[in-house]
Structures are given as C-alpha cells and as structure tokens.
C-alpha cells in the first residue's frame, strides 16, 4: 500500500515520468498568471483528495464540498505554499483541515463504536469470509467512521493513501511518534470491531 496518487509525492523538480510538468513548474506557471494551469494540479491530486475526504467524512457529497473548497483555497493562497515540491502534502493538509471543520460542525466526533450498529450477517454464519463484499465494505467503513478523527486521519493517510510517517507529519503537523501511536491505536480498534462482528 504505497502512494496511490498518480503524481510523485515530493521533491519534484523535473518533468514527472509521464511527461507532464512537475508541481514546481505548474505552481510557477499559475503564480505567473496562468490560472488555467491549476487544472493540471486538480487532475493530478483530485482522486486522492476525494478518497481521503470521503474516508474522513464518510459521505461523498460532503467530501466533494470539502475538496472543492480546499482546492479553491489552495489556489487563492498558492503563493503561501512554501515548498511547491511538496505540494501534495500541502494540499492534503488543507483538505484535512477542511474536513475537521466539517466534522466539527456535524459533531461526528461524538460517534462511538457503540453507536454504530454492526451490519447483520447475511446468513448467520460466523466468519468474515462468508460476508458479501458489500457487507464487508460497509462494516469496515462503519468501523472507520467510529474512530476518533485523529486516529481515523492517521489510519487513512497511512493505509489508504500509503504515506510514510514523515509525509504524514507534514500533513498533520503531529510528531512521528504521535502518529505511530495513533495508527497503532486505530488498527487495534478496527481489528477489535471486525472481530466483534465475525466472532
């Protein structure tokens, strides 16, 4: 589960492999007045940002709002991006911040595992394997949504977005040992939730 975005994650100073311009060049182009060039960055990072926001918010429509707001905000403040070579981290940081704002408004942090009903097993069997794929996905999504936001964010960045702890630190501003602890705790909670259902 390594980086899932199409573009390189950081330190990009030359043309990327597929011949499209590197982040630093696109950023310079946009700041030079070519606003349409921002579309290159949108196409490059939109899929990952939408996936991240959807996992954070548990709702694709809310995720689309958060990502759209984040990208507009990123465009407006592009000159404040202090290291365009690490644009991906910067965009995830803005999006994560926006997601937290959405969550604060929705009070989703108050949800606990006990509030999330487990999906009913299709045939009363007691193994994970017999669950339909859709049921498995629903179960995992519910378990993820029940995590506190910081642990959810850490798990998604690590295991869904495939980031290193170093990049996660840049995205979240948290220290690496803190992030490791959050990921470990998230794994424990998820595993416990999964085992609870299939026991």
């Amino acid at each position: 589960m390594e980086n899932r975005d199409e573009a390189p994650s950081r330190g990009v100073t030359e043309m990327v492999n597929n011949g499209t311009p590197a982040d630093v060049d696109v950023v310079a182009q946009v700041l030079g007045g070519d606003g349409e060039a921002f579309g290159i960055l949108i196409r490059r990072y939109e899929p990952g940002l939408l996936r991240f926001a959807t996992r954070m918010l548990g709702n694709p429509d809310a995720a689309a709002d958060a990502v759209a707001e984040s990208l507009v905000r990123a465009y407006r403040h592009l000159a404040q991006c202090r290291d365009p070579g690490r644009l991906r981290s910067w965009l995830y940081r803005i999006t994560g911040n926006r997601c937290r704002s959405h969550l604060a408004r929705r009070h989703m942090n108050d949800i606990s595992l006990s509030d999330v009903p487990p999906p009913a097993l299709a045939d009363g069997s007691d193994t994970w394997a017999v669950l339909e794929r859709g049921e498995q996905v629903a179960l995992v999504e519910r378990a993820l949504a029940a995590l506190p936001v910081e642990k959810r964010e850490a798990f998604v960045l690590k295991h869904v977005e495939g980031m290193s702890y170093e990049e996660m630190a840049k995205v979240t501003g948290a220290r690496i040992p803190t992030l490791k602890m959050r990921v470990h705790r998230a794994r424990e909670a998820l595993l416990a939730a999964l085992e609870e259902v299939v026991r």
Binding site: M1, R4, V30, L31, G33, D34, G35, E36, F38, G39, I42, E46, P47, G48, L50, R51, T54, R55, P60, A63, A64, V67, A68, L71, V72, Y75, R76, H77, L78, A79, Q80, R82, W90, R93, I94, G96, N97, R100, W128, Q136, V137, V140, E141, A143, L144, V156, H159, V160, V171, T172, G173, K180, V183, H184, R187, E188, L190, L191, A192, L194
Partner: protein
C-alpha cells in the same frame, strides 16, 4: 480493545516480513490489510469543473493581472528603501532635507495617509544574507519588502507604510526559510492546519497633528 502484538504492528509498518508471523497474527494482518484495501476505492466524483468555474469567476490577483496592472500595483506598494552614505554626507544631507522639509511643510513632515500607519519590522538573524517580509499586505509575495542590516550586527530592520489594521506576516530568511517574527506581539494560525502560525502586526493610523 486489547493491544495488538508488537510483531503485527511491525509487519503493518513494513518493518517485519508478514510471512514470519505466527498463523493467528498472520490472519489478523490479512484482515487489516484487506480492510484497508476496501477503503482505497476512489469515489467516482470530480470537482474539477466546479473549482475551475470558481477560479474563473473570481480569479486571484496573480492570475488576472496583466503586466500594466502589476506595474501599477508595484508602484503603489509601500517598500523600504535603504540609502548608504558616509557620515559627513549624512549630516549634510540631513541638514539639507530638514531645511527643505521645514520650508515645504511648516507644520511638520510628511505623514502616512488617512487610515495608514508605519509598520516597523525588526528581526535578529545573525549570519543571514537576506531577510524580507511577506504578508497579507503584499499578497505574500517575495521581493517587495526587504530588511537591511546596516550595522552588520545581525539586526535587520525595515519600515513601511501600511493600511491601519491587522496584518499577518512572516520573515523569509536567505530566500528560503520562512519564520514567524519571534518578537511579534501576537500570532495567528495560518489557516492551513498543522499548527503553524503567522506573526500578526497591528498598524495604528497616525493621528493628525493638532
């Protein structure tokens, strides 16, 4: 919720070969990995057209300005000017300027305009080759407000006329290191998460002389 065996955490962190795990831990490993894989499906959504429409409707200054407008903004933007003179010429120039100013403005020297004030930026950056200020007042653009270290003692200074009110800013040292002013009165979150802060300066309008 019980703690996971450290060997499982190490395997999930890529620090241990999962093939070396005992059977029960390997099952847990597979379960967590497959759960994470289920979350990697990318939603079939796109906000690209929506974002670009918003950008086109209300473009940022960097996008919309042509060269002429950028020149006008550059000319209208306050900036620090450093003049180096020998002391003897400094005294002579000061006397000359004082004479001219007193003749031209008998009631006092030139002052910032209405609702403007003077912002002083001071920082201690020994060994720095250059220090400049970027902030909300100059669209966070570099190259517009440079500090100077006239005494070569590491104390950099610049003054600028700014609109009265609050302005966020950062120092850019040697063209690459962004640091908040350690002497700022206040700091505010930079709005991008991660707990980073911008310095805040409050510029007060210069009151009219009685």
């Amino acid at each position: 919720m019980s703690p996971i065996d450290p060997r499982l955490q190490e395997a999930l962190d890529g620090e241990r070969d999962p093939g070396d795990l005992p059977v029960d831990l390997r099952e847990a490993y597979v379960r967590l990995i497959s759960a994470a894989e289920m979350l990697t499906v990318t939603p079939r959504l796109s906000v690209a057209s929506r974002v670009m429409a918003e950008i086109r409707r209300n473009p940022a200054p960097a996008q919309s300005e042509g060269p002429a407008r950028r020149l006008i903004r550059w000319l209208g933007r306050p900036r620090a000017v450093t003049v180096r003179l020998r002391p003897v010429w400094t005294l002579a120039l000061a006397a000359g300027l004082a004479t001219v100013l007193l003749l031209q403005w008998p009631n006092g020297g030139p002052t910032p305009g209405v609702a403007q004030g003077i912002a002083n930026f001071v920082g201690h950056f020994p060994g720095a080759r250059s220090v400049e200020v970027v902030g909300s007042f100059n669209d966070w653009s570099r190259g517009t407000l440079h500090l100077s270290d006239e005494n070569h003692d590491g104390i950099w200074h610049a003054a600028a006329v700014l609109p009265a009110g609050q302005h966020e800013y950062m120092f850019v040292v040697d063209g690459e290191r962004w640091v908040p002013d350690p002497l700022a009165d206040r700091y505010v979150d930079d709005g991008f998460g991660a707990g980073q802060q911008n310095a805040l300066i409050i510029v007060r309008a210069v009151t009219a002389q009685p």
